[in-house]
Amino acid sequence: MNDHRTIKILLISRNKSALSELKSGLGKKQVQTEWVESGSIALARIAQENFDLAVADENLADMTGLEFCEEVIAQNPMVNLAAVSTLSPADFHETSEGMGILMQLPVSPTQKHAEKLLNQLSTILGLAERIEFKINE
């Protein structure tokens, strides 16, 4: 990944406090975070700007977090996604299969989750830039 690139992350929750710990953990030099209160506002922001990641709380004012993820995929599949969910990991996997969600987060995710999330995101953004090619016939 380009060391000088700013990572843009959109946080969506009804109450700012629900993702405040996570936001603190994401507060790195090259990370820019923005919080919005509903799925529809978030979708409008994603239409205006290129975000690397959107993190949705389990229930938003106007839709569930997973419904929001589906809307994002239809609108801009390049945006990476993480979602708060109280489902078991197996149920979450089953429910979100095909949506390519980066990480399931617990309610009120912490700074440790932020660190893990950033590492995972960095891996993906880095992988997208490594390409090899070989002609064999």
């Binding site: 589906e70 995929i73 239809a74 801009n76 599949p77 390049m78 990476n80 996604l81 993480a82 089953e94 979100s96 299969e97 095909g98 949506m99 390519g100 969600i101 980066l102 990480m103 995972q120 891996t123 993906i124 992988l127 997208a128 490594r130 390409i131 090899e132 090619f133 070989k134 002609i135 064999n136 016939e137």
Partner: protein, 142 residues
Amino acid sequence: MNNEKRGELVIMRNGRIAVPSNGNGGLDGTRSGHFGHCDVFTFIDVENGKIKQVSTVPNQEHVQGGCMVPVNLLANHNVDALVVGGIGMRPLMGFKQAGINVYHDSERASIRPVVEDLIAGNLPQITDDQVCGGGGGGMHQR
């Protein structure tokens, strides 16, 4: 691409086809059931309806949430068409956005007959309700 439409099907005259493949890939190799977990992608370059060249590119490491990585990989290699046995909604939307047509065959393991069918216009494009997960058919073949 200069291809010919025949109803819902497309006869491929020119372009690059990608096939998620097992092992070393190649035209006589076998297909991987899920594009995100394949070993390599076999590229088949088509010119005037004939196979002109076959090449391979290694897949990237698969990490959770990284399903856009192969989308970028194939887009960067100017792929026009992809044949899958199964695919999730997010990568399918990604391929659509990248202008890569996604075709579907969940039956045959061999690469060659599927490619020949695609070139001849006998392979259907995958539809949104055929994707893996989300109650959409679940065609995962790992």
